[in-house]
């Protein structure tokens, strides 16, 4: 599974578990307009760490992503 589909998959799963309606995810979707809260993002990040083996948020120099596209890119660049 590539990084993007793993991320989309996890967003959808966590939204379903938290009974949140997820808008369609495009690169320009602001993360805070996905309807997910901090706790949801924390769950997504910890599960992606389990499935992809990376947690780009651990790095002291990484800036927090604002859009969904930036979130995906953060994972894509960390994997290389």
């Amino acid at each position: 599974m590539n990084v993007r589909s793993a991320v989309v998959d996890e967003f959808m799963k966590v939204a379903r578990e938290h009974v949140k309606e997820l808008p369609s995810l495009t690169d320009s979707t602001p993360l805070l307009e996905t309807g997910l809260d901090s706790l949801c993002f924390a769950v997504i990040v910890t599960r992606l760490e389990d499935s992809l083996g990376i947690d780009p948020f651990q790095a002291e120099d990484s800036l927090f992503p604002i859009t969904f596209g930036e979130f995906v890119r953060l994972y894509e660049t960390s994997q290389k």
Binding site: D37, L39, A42, V43, V45, T46, F57, I66
Partner: protein, 467 residues
């Protein structure tokens, strides 16, 4: 001669003593109240006098109503108990008995319940009704803050106006107009500190509203000219994920309530290059102990001896604090001691010394700090073990770069009841559903891990790997 700082013993005299400037205000998303109006109006339908000397439980829908009622009741009531948002009303009879509550001030309908004493009800609203100004009593009101206990039942922590304001320094730059805001709720210690800071530094205050999005709150804070802003590292991480964070131009950024990592400090420095960025250590029981201003995570070992007003020591790996900011005691029958015999509060926060700097390394009692909210593993375990397929479980924290920590549950099933991946997935979802029904969101495990066994100590108990 006494300075105003020595004579002020309650909120309303505090607002007067430190300048009720005409342009000072407190606002949420729906209302803005000028500070002067707090003295010309009543949030208690003019019935504040009837509450003199009573033990008053304050349970409101929003923060602004709490702030209005607090200003009216501090110095009047014998005791004020602040009901935090999201605390289940199932604990109401317990708190009413433990704090000898004889009056409930609320804007909600509260179902009748059995109590050992007669309880009087008084409505409240953030729409102040005009009342004639008059001389008010000036009792030293006890302030009771509720924090989470091991079983989910809250602990009642006794403070006073003087203990709550002990760490607040007078301002030196009186020309600067300060507008405070906070991601915290003022019905908990971290938020209450900001309300009191605003009062004692002649500042205005911007409060968040229930249901208001982070983006809307940040945009409103920016419009209101917020200069000082506080929250947990988790609050700030979330704020920085919003484009609206760029609208804010803070001069002062404060973090507390969780261990701070270098990443959030660096991110805040990048977002707000002109701001003073300060992280503070405080707890409901120990009060505010120290502030770190050097932009680095952890705190210098020298901080232990820097402030003569706040004595600190590290004993058996945890931080102990003795100061005027300590809470007095816990309230209620069989309440545990809050301080040791020499008057120190054991914070239960373990610290590690590396290169002359202390770093927080989790809780000795295994309490998990999820975005500044405490989770006792035992409470979550008691919910999971209600599931008919569960033999035993162990709830632990896992580090999270978003909320500081997350709850993870290792679960052992009865017999060999898993036969396929499909069954496993269904069972995990079922356990999570049970947790969601019984627990607030931050206590629900982020992951259920099915394991074949859990390590058992010689005592026969599941072995916990604390801190």
């Amino acid at each position: 001669m006494k300075t105003p700082y020595q004579t002020v013993t309650n909120l309303s005299t505090g607002i007067c003593a430190f300048g009720a400037w005409p342009d000072r205000f407190v606002e949420d998303a729906d209302h803005r109240i000028a500070c002067a109006d707090f003295f010309a109006g009543s949030s208690l339908y003019g019935r504040g006098d009837e509450l003199e000397g009573r033990s008053v439980l304050l349970a409101t829908k929003d923060q602004l109503t709490t702030a209005s009622a607090l200003i009216e009741l501090d110095g009047v009531a014998r005791r004020i108990i602040l009901w935090p948002p999201e605390l289940s009303l199932e604990y109401l009879p317990f708190v009413v008995d433990a704090a000898e509550v004889d009056c409930i001030v609320s804007d909600r309908a509260i179902a009748p319940f059995h109590s050992q004493h007669p309880v009087y009800y008084c409505g409240c609203s953030s729409n102040l009704i005009p009342v004639a100004p008059k001389e008010r009593p000036n009792h030293e009101t006890e302030w009771i803050l509720l924090t989470s206990g091991t079983t989910g039942r809250p602990k009642l922590v006794v403070h006073s106006y003087s203990s709550l304001t002990a760490a607040i320094q007078p301002r030196t730059d009186s020309n600067l107009s300060i507008v405070w805001s906070t991601f915290y709720d003022i019905r908990r210690y971290g938020g209450l500190q900001i309300l009191l800071r605003a009062v004692r530094t002649s500042a205005s205050l911007v409060l968040s509203s229930a249901g208001e999005s982070v983006a809307d709150f940040l945009a409103r804070a920016a419009r209101a000219g917020v200069t000082h802003m506080s929250g947990t590292p988790s609050h700030w991480r979330r704020a920085l994920m919003s484009p609206s964070a760029q609208l804010l131009k803070p001069k002062y950024v404060r973090l507390s309530g969780e261990a701070v990592d270098q990443a959030i400090l660096n991110n805040l420095r990048a977002a707000y290059p002109g701001a003073r960025i300060v992280h503070a250590f405080a707890s409901t029981e120990a009060g505010v102990a120290f502030e770190v201003t050097d932009g680095a995570a952890g705190f210098p070992a020298s901080a232990l001896n820097e402030n003569r007003q706040v004595e600190m020591k590290v004993e058996e790996g945890t931080l102990h604090i003795r100061s005027a900011g300590n809470a007095r005691c816990y309230l209620g029958d069989r309440a545990p001691a809050l301080k040791d015999q020499s008057g120190f509060v054991d914070t239960g926060d373990t610290v590690e010394l590396r290169d002359g700097r202390y770093f927080f390394a989790g809780r000795r009692d295994g309490v998990i700090n999820v975005g500044g909210l405490k989770v006792h593993p035992e409470e979550v375990e008691s919910v999971i073990t209600r599931h008919p397929e569960v033999q035993m479980c162990l709830v632990r924290g896992k580090r999270s770069p978003i909320t500081g920590a997350l709850v993870i549950a290792d679960v052992v099933l009865k017999g060999a009841s898993i036969s396929s991946d499909q069954d496993t997935g269904a069972l995990e979802r079922d356990i999570l559903r049970l947790c969601r029904e019984a627990l607030p969101a931050h206590k629900v495990p982020a992951a259920i891990k099915l394991v074949s066994e859990l390590p058992i100590a010689e005592s026969g108990k599941v072995m916990r790997q604390y801190a």
